[in-house]
């Protein structure tokens, strides 16, 4: 069973093409990150997925139904961007209200526990800090026990600690075999929390795979050390090296095999100082893909 199928979906706002013809299939049970810079078309894709925007062309199926129907049947829970919470209600009242809109909701206490809101339940929802409000919005999204959970940049406005506890909450919800799609422009989040990373840029999918696969596409690691004015000749001939950059006293080698390169570097007799080896990170891969 596929949770999400986009077939040839496109969407323009005026002369801006937000999403170019997009094909995407997400299987049920996966946790997928939709990764991309601002303006990549992530939010537009999510809005179309939720029936909040209508595609210009193409077809979208959510758990085998049209987006509107899937939402109406309570199959989908969503945490949208930039929503402030409704004024005048406590956290418990808001979450309990939304819960009851769904046919088979989670128990209220369980929702509050997963979202880490048990101690805030009697506080007014519109008088919370940014991170706390995000947790309420997460609670709203999961309260109906939806089979598909969609999170649009869920950790924006959160500090580091809130972020960690948020992702712990999300993983505990995902453990129930549910499908989760989250949009983010934080690369580490995609790396650490998703089974699969779909990279979007300029309204198109430009990369799709596990975080490791995306990283591998960036090609190799870097070795950085202080050269102190000694000649840089020959560095380019070391095994594995694909590129040499000299920045003042520092040399930066791009390599496909950092271990071999470093070994050869020490054997070459150069007095290398301040050696630093960095694996390819998702950031490089991401910049590569979205450039």
């Amino acid at each position: 069973m596929n949770a999400i199928v986009f077939t040839n979906v496109s969407k323009s706002y005026g002369s801006v093409q937000a999403v170019r013809p997009l094909d995407l299939v997400i299987e049920a049970g996966q946790t997928v990150a939709l990764l991309g810079p601002n303006g990549a078309g992530k939010s537009t894709s999510i809005n179309m997925l939720l029936g909040l925007a209508k595609p210009d062309t193409g077809d979208i199926q959510v758990l085998g139904a049209a987006p509107d129907d899937a939402v109406a049947h309570g199959l989908v829970g969503a945490m949208l961007q930039n929503g402030t919470l409704v004024a005048g209600l406590t956290v418990r009242e808001v979450v309990d209200f939304v819960r009851h809109l769904y046919p088979e909701p989670l128990p209220l206490d369980e929702v509050l526990r997963i979202a880490g809101l048990t101690d805030l339940a009697t506080r007014r929802a519109d008088r919370l800090s940014g991170g706390q409000a995000q947790r309420v919005r997460f609670a709203i999204a999961i309260s109906g026990a939806p089979r598909l959970l969609v999170l649009d940049e869920p950790t924006a406005a959160m500090d580091v600690e809130s972020r960690l506890s948020f992702w712990a909450s999300m993983r505990s919800y995902a453990a129930g075999g549910r499908t989760i799609l989250f949009a983010t422009h934080y690369l580490e989040e995609a790396d650490e929390n998703a089974d699969r990373v779909v990279v979007m840029a300029r309204g198109q999918v430009v990369g799709d795979g596990t975080a490791a696969e995306i990283k591998a596409r960036a090609g190799g690691s870097t070795v950085r050390f202080t050269l102190n004015g000694r000649p840089a000749d020959g560095l380019g001939r070391l095994p594995g090296v694909t590129g040499v950059e000299i920045h003042g006293p520092t040399a930066l080698l791009h390599t496909t095999d950092a271990d071999t390169t470093v070994e050869a570097l020490y054997q070459s007799g150069l007095r290398v100082r301040d050696l630093e080896v960095k694996g390819a990170d998702l950031e490089d891969a991401f910049l590569d893909l979205t450039r």
């Binding site: 809005n47 925007a53 004024a87 209600l89 209200f97 809109l101």
Partner: protein
């Protein structure tokens, strides 16, 4: 949907502006003007009512319009902008249920000044009506708040929160004045009287004045109010749909 209505009413009751606009303003105006109006207890030829009774209906109607148009308009505009209604759109609660609940909640809000002004008139100005007249006036005036509740949701769906306040204040003041709720339309220029007859606000007041005067409201009043109800209700639903779905 009942739960939604319940939390909407709960939210309104916790809003201090609610108390001020829906309770204090019409009751205050009634107390102020009923003491400086015509001779106490004397029936005026132009209205067939004592000033105290006439003003009771006028201020009940004015308060109801303020509650339905102004409170609903700015609240809805704020909720649309804040993303709360967009969030609801991503739940099984249908657009239709949201807008119907908004209109119903707005009507319940508008009932408050009708009841409060009536109680004030009875207590402070010794206004006496038969139980049937009290019940008839309150029930029919309450039903007649529908077009104003729809108008409030329409304004809320169309304009930004910043604009909602002035637009709705202008609308409810304009409707109240042109509808003869402050100054009876018999004292207005002829051209304005012709306009007033077509306004829901004038017909809204007329329903109340007829009942407290001891006769049934006219069919014309019912038809004009129903016409406004249908037109504004339809527009409100269409505008709300447009406001939550970007084409």
């Amino acid at each position: 949907m009942l739960r939604y209505l319940r939390i909407e009413l709960l939210r309104m009751s916790r809003d201090p502006r609610f108390v001020f606009f829906t309770a204090a303003v019409p009751v205050g105006f009634y107390l102020l003007w009923s003491n400086i109006g015509g001779v106490h207890g004397e029936i005026e030829a132009s209205t067939g009512l004592t000033p105290q009774v006439h003003l009771m209906v006028s201020m009940a109607a004015f308060g109801a319009i303020v509650a339905a148009v102004a409170s609903t308009g700015s609240r809805l505009a704020g909720e649309l902008q804040s993303g709360w209604l967009r969030q609801l759109r991503a739940t099984p609660l249908s657009n239709r249920a949201v807008i119907c609940t908004k209109i119903l909640a707005s009507m319940i809000l508008a009932l408050t000044p009708i009841v409060l002004v009536s109680i004030t008139a009875a207590l402070a100005q010794d206004v006496r009506l038969s139980p049937a007249e009290w019940a008839g006036m309150i029930a029919l005036m309450w039903l007649a708040t529908f077009p104003f509740a729809a108008l409030g949701t329409l304004i809320g769906s169309l304009v930004s929160p910043d604009a909602a306040q002035p637009v709705s204040v202008g609308t409810h003041l304009g409707l109240s004045m042109l509808g003869g709720l402050f100054v009876p339309i018999s004292q207005m220029p002829h051209a304005l009287q012709n306009v007033a007859h077509w306004l829901p606000s004038n017909r809204f007041g007329e329903v109340g004045w007829d009942i407290v005067g001891g006769h049934a409201p006219s069919a014309a009043a019912g038809l004009i109010l129903a016409g406004w109800a249908a037109a504004l209700g339809g527009c409100a639903i269409a505008a709300y749909r447009r406001a939550t779905v970007t084409a």
